[in-house]
Symmetry: C2
Subunit: 196 residues, 2 copies
DNA sequence: AAGATTTTGAACACTGTGTTGATGAAGTTA
DNA sequence: TAACTTCATCAACACAGTGTTCAAAATCTT
């Protein structure tokens, strides 16, 4: 077998690094994290770190890439029924939000004070094509440029919603948040008129 | 007069630093910018830099703080007429967007590949109280929690819109973008139904 | 012109980087 | 089990950048 994934030692080492990294990332921004302290906290040799990563930024990138793969997998599941664009958009949102809750450990760090605030943006951009297709399928006479702007607004808006959600400890269920996002996306400020 | 603002030398020095800094920030992330190269490009002594800033991060923070003050000033102007919440929200948006266009040099860098993506978020949070007041004045029976979530969505959505706007070279006018934001905020996906 | 303030240039100790080579430990294959 | 391969460790190294200091030169203020 190849050396990449089969060796127990490598996996253990990477786990230690990852655990120490996320721990440090809760206390300080990545620019303040040195390879030295990371390795000391992880209990591994500094040279070992350099055998796997170029620097702490490459480490972060690799972690992010891993979660993105999970996302793609979640999105690739064929939507159950999705009768129209609205249904499929909400479907996609709920799936994404659930995925975030499943990976809450990383997401909390990323959305925290010292995380990569643009990380969720990268994630949601994965769903961009899927959503744009859904929109253009439904709004056949909308200009592509307007759809782009709408998606820019809405995807970014979801990130803001998610950030607040995480700040509140993810108390609400993923479905609740997805429905809140749905109502805002569908009705805008009319959101408030829907309450009885 | 105090030494802070009256001395020509200080202002020139800070201008050189700022110019060099934004120039570097177009090519690489802030973590990759050293005080050395910054000073070399600015044509000043390294010691002089440390006389004014602790490090490059403090420099960035100071630049951001300066623009935030401009923002506060722009927001403090009493709204012309603002008949209702909708009018005042749009009014606020247009004012903010104009401010961004006025400071486009910095904003382009901030929204670019290596800028502080959260910068605009900090800016818009300044308008938070103003907007929340406008909302709650209009939607007297809405729950505070829902208003918070709505604002989280909408403010973040505006950032996404602005980012796309900047990416396209700010070709459209600030008013155009503000109106686009308005329509999305008011009607959500119904945005597309408004076209004739 | 006199005095205060700022910039400069050089030096300094110091922290962290990224790499190397030898050694032992752990995994893999025959 | 034995032979082989891969990986982690440790110490050492040159190097880049940091943050500070000081005397001297330049510039501003009055």
């Amino acid at each position: 077998m190849k050396s990449s994934s089969g060796d127990h030692r490598v996996r253990v080492t990477k786990m230690m690094i990852r655990r120490a990294f996320t721990e440090l990332l809760q206390k300080k921004p990545i620019q303040g994290i040195t390879v030295q302290e990371l390795c000391k906290l992880a209990g591994i040799n500094r040279g070992t770190f350099y055998a796997h990563y170029q620097d702490v930024y490459a480490l972060l990138e690799q972690i992010e890439r891993g979660m993105m793969d999970d996302f793609r997998q979640a999105l690739d599941q064929p939507d159950g029924q999705a009768r129209d664009a609205r249904g499929s958009v909400v479907d996609i949102c709920a799936r994404i939000f659930q995925c975030i809750k499943d990976n809450s450990d990383i997401c909390v760090v990323m959305l925290g004070d010292y995380g990569d605030k643009d990380f969720l943006g990268k994630l949601l951009s994965i769903g961009k094509e899927t959503c744009l297709n859904a929109y253009s399928r439904y709004f056949t006479d909308a200009k592509p440029r307007e759809i782009e702007y709408f998606y820019a607004f809405v995807s970014s808006g979801c990130i803001g919603l998610l950030r607040l959600w995480v700040q509140e400890g993810m108390a609400a269920s993923a479905m609740e948040i997805a429905q809140m996002a749905e109502r805002i996306m569908l009705s805008g400020i009319g959101f408030f008129d829907q309450k009885a």
